[in-house]
Symmetry: C2
Subunit: 421 residues, 2 copies
Amino acid sequence: VALRTAEIIAVGSELLGTTRIDTNSLYITDRLSGLGIEVHVKSVVGDDRSDLAAVFRQALTRADVVVFTGGLGPTDDDLTREVVADVLGLPMTLDEAILDKIRARFARRGLTMPEVNRRQAQVPRGAIVLDNPNGTAPGLFLDHEGHAVVLLPGPPREMQPMFDGVCAGPLSERAGAERIYRTSLFITGLGESHVEQAAQPIYARWRDGSPPMATTILAAMGQVELHLSVRDADGARARRMLDDARGELLGALGEHVYSTDGRKMEEVVGDLLKARGLTIAAAESCTGGLLMSRLTDVPGSSAYVRAGVIAYDNADKQRLLDVPEALLAQHGAVSEPVAVAMAEGIRARTGADVAVGITGIAGPGGGTPQKPVGTVVISVLAPGADAYVRTFQFIGERTQVKFQSTQAALNRVRRMLADSR
Amino acid sequence: VALRTAEIIAVGSELLGTTRIDTNSLYITDRLSGLGIEVHVKSVVGDDRSDLAAVFRQALTRADVVVFTGGLGPTDDDLTREVVADVLGLPMTLDEAILDKIRARFARRGLTMPEVNRRQAQVPRGAIVLDNPNGTAPGLFLDHEGHAVVLLPGPPREMQPMFDGVCAGPLSERAGAERIYRTSLFITGLGESHVEQAAQPIYARWRDGSPPMATTILAAMGQVELHLSVRDADGARARRMLDDARGELLGALGEHVYSTDGRKMEEVVGDLLKARGLTIAAAESCTGGLLMSRLTDVPGSSAYVRAGVIAYDNADKQRLLDVPEALLAQHGAVSEPVAVAMAEGIRARTGADVAVGITGIAGPGGGTPQKPVGTVVISVLAPGADAYVRTFQFIGERTQVKFQSTQAALNRVRRMLADSR
């Protein structure tokens, strides 16, 4: 019988505190869904033998695949191997090949393997050992009475390549012919209810299709996400369905969709700049450098990012950006003429092709009845397009106002570059 | 018997995808630990009746307190209320007071309550209704055969004040006299193994104390965290123990500890600047504005943040920061003389008291054998201190190099301001 359902168990008391969260399960979920295997329950369990055994036993009652992360280290706290062997009733044996590898790993650094690391070479009978190129803890794969049980280390850079190997190897062989195919649309500049209104009639039709399409709308800071997925044994058909549904949604949501391939806004803007051989510069006040920081998060961005100026007070807006004093006095720092002058100033100083000016009130202080917290003015200058300036009202805390401001500014750059092509 | 153990169940199929993660459990864990209640297992379950019932049944076998978040909405997908009533064998009754409140909430917006919202007024017999000031879904508190069962909505801004009320009210009454007291130290500029070496002898003593102290070392990007906690009925004693242990650790780790009260680095630096009435400006190359963005994430930072310049290429370093062309030609853009010249340039242009210059290679491209990816030069100028400049070698991806660079620069500002006091 093909494997269809999965449960993920993250092991480690540090994941039960107030500062750490399990994120490995996102990666694992993504890879499993590529095999048509759906995650039904995820758990986090401390380094406690009886809790771990109970959660594992329950997982076996309902999941075809159980994936553990963590608890494979060499110390007494690392219980995953032992508990899995106990629950499945499998004796442990010492695997000399693993022991040799761990010894060699230490030897390469001129060290002798500590005795405690022998534990990592203990293997439940019948387990397939999964090589760990990035650490000492090997992983394990067990085929047990119709269940696949996978034990992986906790650190993502060890876990991820090992799980990729499991998915390509033993899990792939045991998965069914059906796979889950996905696509996503990322939208900004439209509220969730507007997106829902536009998407709903399209969704409804595809949901009743054959095979049915699963659809989700998720609202996040500065964007709305539409996620579509189809489970099908016929990959060409599934991809065609997703392409068609995406095409219909693009028709309904148009210019508000900034990404249909998972790229972030700063990557989309960067790719547009690169394709057209243009450079960008920004003059930021309330966003404090976040716009430039997002642009420069993208590898290769030095090809199109020129320079930026962050000018918090009026004196610096004059000195660093040549904003006329009279303009500041007449309209105030948070005003459309000043935003345009900031963009013009950074363009003149750097010679960049595209220039952004942002000025606003991020809060929590500084608001007035006329210009409350969240008032942000954005100006964009781009070749072949009219100068853009608009006043926004954003809602939320300081960092949320900052993010939404940069999102709106980048989105405007995107649309001006796309339109003027 | 006092409540001591807890389990948290987050409900919602959207939390089982690849883009969303349950973070409510961090808040709940923190509040529970204030009552001496420890979380042993956390789960995420989709909108599935049988999975939800099974996970709840198992939680009841081992946890004194079970906290649900999510699944309290008005639709058929929202199953938490029904499943809890089913498992506990409690009949549901319609609560007219809740119904009136939901109706009034809609009426305030000029709307009639949709029939579907009647579901939110269904209450298992004996439940205490928890008012939700920020949404329609009320919460529920059940006292059942020695277990406390709490049902909360998923959105954090609805969940958090409601859970605060539960902790101050019914949970507090049922918790024991013991509470968990915590403190943390945040360290930067020292590797995990160095921190461990320094902390271990101190830890060992406190761990064997009475009551014993729990200790954890966690390595994160750009910092190492030490977490200490004591469970005690005597709050004064616990706090004294934590103060003493913290004092010993501060003695051993000294200037590398940047925060002992949960403040982030950018808050610590901001508070130092504010206390001394100083302003700051930065000239950033490879960090692309991240340093300034972190500083300006702090409410009130406009009091001490002057301005910043982001200069990616050499022409802009000359034009915007007055870095001499000869210096760039002789030493290269990533060099100590250039970092100092950048800091001097931004200081001269803005008149800020403290000036930072950062230049480096964030990668993945741009590295050379002499200056590999991760090479970052940081300079800091501060009143009453010698000019600082140092070349770092950071490890990791582009965004990690960026973050570590800003962390090292802010930490240097912190130390120079603390030293020159």
